[in-house]
């Protein structure tokens, strides 16, 4: 078994609104291991996105700890959290969130250039390589509004990868895409994972969940079930789908 990169212990998150506490995450223990493709599923309001934001250092937790390589990031100040988001994590949003006045290339290089290490040349070389891999070479100088949703999301994934992060977090990455573009993005995730990239993806799409090697089912702020799958194989898709559907049905979803 590969070593754990991220380890959440007793993680809780609650919001106070007009004096009423809303407990979104309740005492979650979760371990993310090197090279794993973890999928977090659950109905709307189950807390899956909140969990993703909390373990990726995007949002503060109300209780518990999140260890990255043994360091509790919940104790980090904002600057150290920023450094972790820059160097250790990559994040892909459902709504893509590229900076609208920057070209795809510029969007991709910003995190690379924001690091102290690495020259401009190295960052642009890495970006070119990603653009080539993600078939974005022709579109690289266009604005996000001038390319398709699929191209935008691929650029967002390239942006998440520019600093070779330990983990990529993806919050419903296919949520805003059509089926064709969704497949392209999911294929990309699968390929990255097969190359050793650790991925944590939130989705409510069963088809997307099939790409994962491990599915965590969240309900009402708690981990309600976990399913481990064999490595993804396109030829075994049917049986994988049956297995996942049966498991989800057993959880009454």
């Amino acid at each position: 078994m590969s070593k754990a990169i991220l380890d959440c212990k007793d993680l809780s998150k609650s919001y106070a609104h007009e004096g009423i506490q809303n407990h979104v995450l309740k005492h979650i223990d979760l371990e993310i291991r090197q090279g794993e493709f973890t999928v977090i599923m659950g109905p709307s309001g189950s807390g899956k996105s909140t969990l993703l934001y909390c373990i990726s250092g995007m949002e503060s937790c109300s209780g518990g700890s999140v260890y990255l390589h043994g360091d509790d990031i919940t104790k980090f100040n904002e600057n150290r959290l920023s450094d972790i988001r820059l160097q250790n994590f990559g994040f892909v949003f459902q709504q893509i969130h590229l900076v609208s006045n920057l070209s795809l290339l510029e969007n991709i290089v910003i995190p690379g250039l924001s690091r102290k290490s690495g020259s401009n040349k190295e960052v642009y070389a890495k970006a070119d390589s990603l653009l080539q891999t993600f078939l974005l070479e022709e579109a690289k100088n266009r604005l996000p509004s001038q390319v398709s949703g699929g191209e935008q999301q691929r650029a967002a994934i390239a942006r998440a990868l520019i600093n070779q992060p330990d983990i990529i977090f993806a919050d419903e990455p296919t949520g805003a895409l059509n089926q064709n573009n969704s497949t392209i993005v999911l294929d990309l995730f699968t390929r990255l994972n097969q190359e050793g990239q650790t991925i944590v993806m939130v989705t409510h799409d069963r088809r997307a969940a099939l790409r994962g090697g491990r599915i965590i089912y969240l309900l009402d702020g708690r981990i309600h079930g976990e399913l481990t799958l064999a490595p993804y194989d396109e030829d075994m898709l049917k049986s994988r789908e049956t297995q996942v559907n049966a498991w989800l049905e057993s959880l009454s979803w």
Binding site: S49, Y53, M58, E59, S60, E78, N79, S82, D83, I84, R85, L86, Q87, F89, F91, F93, Q95, H97, L98, V99, S100, N101, L102, S103, E106, V109, I110, P111, L113, S114, S119, N120, L143, S145, R159, A160, N163
Partner: protein, 789 residues
């Protein structure tokens, strides 16, 4: 009902916007109401003081030469004259003639207190009201009433001593009251400081004048009232009509019409009110821009919501009404409250005005005028909003629902490669240039604010005593000496005294006369050498015997151009002269002309005029010391130094500077409130980008730098435009103020380093405001930011 719910929601969710708009309007309303009330109250007080004071429709003030009793009798018999009052006055010719504590009154005049012929209203001990005329008696022997001006200038109180001192006379009096006298020093030095004595004490002084004519001179004021059937005659025409063919006008040292008395008494307040109104006007323009900016950003931010409301069946009219009513209510409330707050401030500040304007001013609020201004503001704001809100019509529900928030960027901006170093500054430039049009209103707003600050600052030195003497007085001299006879030994003695201090560089002969140009009264400088003229504005100095130059103000009033021939009348003779140029001079509120001595002789005037010499000395800082020494050594001389004139104007100077600095302070406060409003708006408009930057690991400090740097660019662009506005508009605004003090051209003087300091202050202020506002990046969660909160 639904509309009120939506309006309530607007107020609830955009508290900051509405509170700021409310505060800005309140500020504008407050200063406008204050300015209108002050102006109205002082004008009314001056008018009332004039009516009560029996100044007459015109008063002539004689010093050495006086018209004969025969001429006065003839004057009294004229059908145009209803009443004529001769008010005897004694002038000291020597120095130190009037001393209150350590304060030496430069040119006091003494007269017997007699409210029946000249009613200088006596103030009660608390200086808050007048003693009724029937109860106001003359001071007892050994006591004096002095003009209320001295209470404020010297701190003199009732019971203090007042000395009249000369070589052969020294007497101490007790100050037993303060009186109001519109002839006292005010915005323009009218040449006198009033001291009122008992009839007996005055008689003693008059006797003294006969005994020691070198030390005291008895003369008189002549107040003349128009007959009712000639009430249509203007005061100026009245003067010309009654003095034609006599020496009545020519002998007078000062002629004041009733209109001028009121004008001079209230001019300071009018100028100050104008300054405040200009500042308020600029603030209002800035307020309109901010309102425009707010509506635009609200429409952008609520693009989707408007789509939803339209999809739910609300008509564009409903939505427009929500914005209109919420903004109008805010502006209306702000204006109303500003008006209400100003009212007690007007009452509280009224007693202070006595010290500034020498008038007892009522604390009435100019409700009607201020409400009218408020109504105009509301109407203009309403029209501007109606234009802006037409955009609601163009919002299509389907597009709005699909697109969500209206896209912010349309271009990549400047072609600048993102790289290290200065990555964040480069990012900031790209984002700023990409959405330049969105910053346009912010740039314009800063331009107006920068212009407002520069212009307000320029007002602080516009009426500096130094400028008044050097630029607006019209003549270039350090010491002016009026001789009985310029060929006498006195001249040699005088010049010897001057040269004890510093060498004389030049001496120019000068005289003054009263003339009529195209039948309009005018003062005339008669110069032997026109080199002495320091304020030629257009054309050329008069060189030949048929040339005259006029003040531009007079020329503009009477539509006279350079090259025109004008008819000049003096002492019964008329000649034509060519206007060779325009100049400006504060003298006689700008109603002056200048010609060469030889040109004046064409009017057959006897050659006895040039008895004043204007000296330029090597070290002008000795000016006042020399004047003082000359008073002691040659007491019969009339000596003034430009430094002395300058000092006599420092009161005016200080008031202007005080008001202007106050306005500058208000303008800076206004800039800060506006700066916060604009940066908050822009921050929320671009919050998603900061969320993205934060999510990808850009530190908060760098993120805040990206945001704040943009304000440096916005502020810089605004500063440049603001400076251009200052160059173009400030002279226009000043030209509206200038004629009020008899000047036609105020050149705005702002030193480069001041502009640079203000520019830096603006840059720093906007950067810091943006930095503070972007602190929200720290506090807000990424999820909220990327979803644009």
């Amino acid at each position: 009902m639904a509309i009120w719910k939506l309006i309530k929601a607007q107020f609830k969710h955009k508290k900051a916007v509405y509170i700021s708009l409310f505060l800005l309007t309140l500020l504008i309303s407050f200063i406008l109401t204050f300015a209108f009330s002050m102006s109205k109250n002082i004008s009314e007080a001056a008018e009332e003081a004039y009516q009560a004071g029996k100044y007459g429709d015109v008063c002539f003030f004689y010093i050495m030469d006086t018209p004969s009793e025969e001429e006065l009798e003839k004057l009294a018999e004229r059908e145009e004259v209803r009443d004529l009052r001769k008010i005897p006055v004694v002038f000291p010719l020597a120095t130190n003639a009037g001393i209150i504590s350590d304060y030496k009154i430069a040119t006091p005049w003494f007269q017997a207190y007699n409210p029946d012929i000249f009613n200088a209203r006596l103030l009660r001990d608390d200086m808050k009201s007048y003693v009724p005329k029937e109860d106001a008696s003359a001071p007892s022997d050994g006591e004096v009433y002095v003009a209320n001006l001295f209470h404020f200038m010297t701190g003199a109180e009732i019971g203090d001593s007042f000395h009249i001192t000369s070589t052969n006379f020294n007497k101490e009096y007790r100050i037993s009251g303060f009186v109001e006298d519109l002839r006292q020093v005010n915005a323009v030095n009218m040449g006198g400081n009033s001291v009122f004595l008992s009839a007996n004490d005055y008689e003693d002084l008059a006797m003294l004048a006969q005994e020691f004519p070198a030390e005291f001179c008895e003369s008189f004021f002549l107040s003349v009232d128009k007959a009712p059937e000639f009430s249509d005659l203007s005061d100026d025409d009245f003067v010309n009509v009654i003095s034609r063919g006599t020496d009545i006008k020519d002998m007078a040292r000062i002629i004041l019409t009733g209109e001028q008395v009121i004008y001079f008494s209230s001019i300071m307040s009018q100028i100050i009110a104008m300054i405040i109104i200009f500042v308020a006007l600029l603030m209002f323009i800035a307020n309109l821009l901010i309102l425009n900016f707010n509506i635009n950003s609200s429409l952008e931010a609520e693009y989707k919501n408007i789509g939803v409301l339209k999809a739910c069946g609300l008509q564009k009219g409903h939505i427009q009404r929500v914005y209109l009513l919420s903004f109008l209510l805010t502006i209306g409330l702000g204006f109303g409250l500003g008006l209400l707050i100003a009212s007690p401030v007007v009452v509280v500040s009224t007693p202070l005005l006595l010290g500034i304007f020498n008038l007892l001013v009522s604390g009435q609020t100019a409700w009607l005028l201020s409400s009218g201004a408020g109504l105009v503001i509301l109407v203009i704001a309403l029209l501007m909003m109606l234009v802006q809100l037409r955009k609601v019509t163009k919002i299509k529900p389907r597009e709005a629902l699909n697109e969500g928030q209206q896209s912010v960027y349309f271009s990549q901006g400047i072609d600048l490669q993102l790289k290290k170093p200065f990555l964040h500054a480069r990012l900031s430039v790209k984002q700023f240039t990409a959405s330049l049009h969105q910053y346009l209103s912010a740039v314009l707003l800063i331009a107006v604010l920068f212009f407002l600050v520069l212009y307000t600052y320029s007002l602080t030195n516009i009426l500096e005593s130094e400028r008044m003497v050097q630029e607006f007085y019209g003549l270039d001299f350090d010491i002016a000496v009026r001789y009985e006879d310029t060929d006498s030994e006195t001249k040699e003695k005088t010049e010897a005294v001057i040269e004890e201090y510093t060498p004389i560089l030049s001496r120019e002969y000068m005289e003054y006369a009263d003339i009529e140009v195209n039948k309009n009264s005018l003062g005339l400088f008669i110069a032997d050498n026109t080199k002495v003229l320091s304020s030629l504005l257009e054309g050329k100095k008069p060189e030949f015997d048929n040339e005259i130059i006029l003040t531009k103000l007079f020329a503009q009033m009477h539509n006279i151009q350079i090259g025109d021939m004008v008819e000049v009348y003096s002492k019964g003779k008329t000649e034509d002269y060519l206007v060779s140029g325009f100049f400006q001079s504060l003298n006689r509120a700008g109603m002056m002309a200048l010609m060469k001595d030889s040109a004046f002789r064409r009017l057959d005037v006897e050659d006895d005029q040039s008895n004043e010499i204007l000296y330029k000395i090597e070290d002008p800082s000795y000016g006042e010391e020399i004047a003082e020494k000359l008073f002691q050594e040659v007491p019969e001389l009339y000596v003034i130094s430009s430094e002395g004139i300058q000092k006599s104007m420092t009161g005016v100077d200080a008031i202007f500077a005080g008001i202007s600095w106050l306005m500058l302070g208000i303008a800076l406060l206004f800039v800060i409130i506006n700066g916060i409003m604009v940066s908050v708006k822009i921050f929320y408009r671009e919050a998603a980008d900061f969320g993205i930057f934060k999510a990808i690991g850009i530190r908060n400090s760098a993120n805040r730098l990206i945001f704040s740097c943009r304000f440096l660019f916005v502020a810089f662009a605004g500063i440049l435009i603001g400076y251009v506005l200052q160059l173009v508009l400030a002279p226009q605004l000043n030209n509206l103020l200038a004629p009020m003090v008899g000047v036609s051209t105020f050149v705005v003087k702002i030193e480069w380093f001041i502009i640079i300091i203000f520019a830096l202050l603006f840059l720093i202020a906007f950067f810091l405001i943006a930095w503070a506002v972007s602190g929200r990046i720290k506090r807000l969660e990424i999820r909220n930011l990327v979803n644009a909160i």
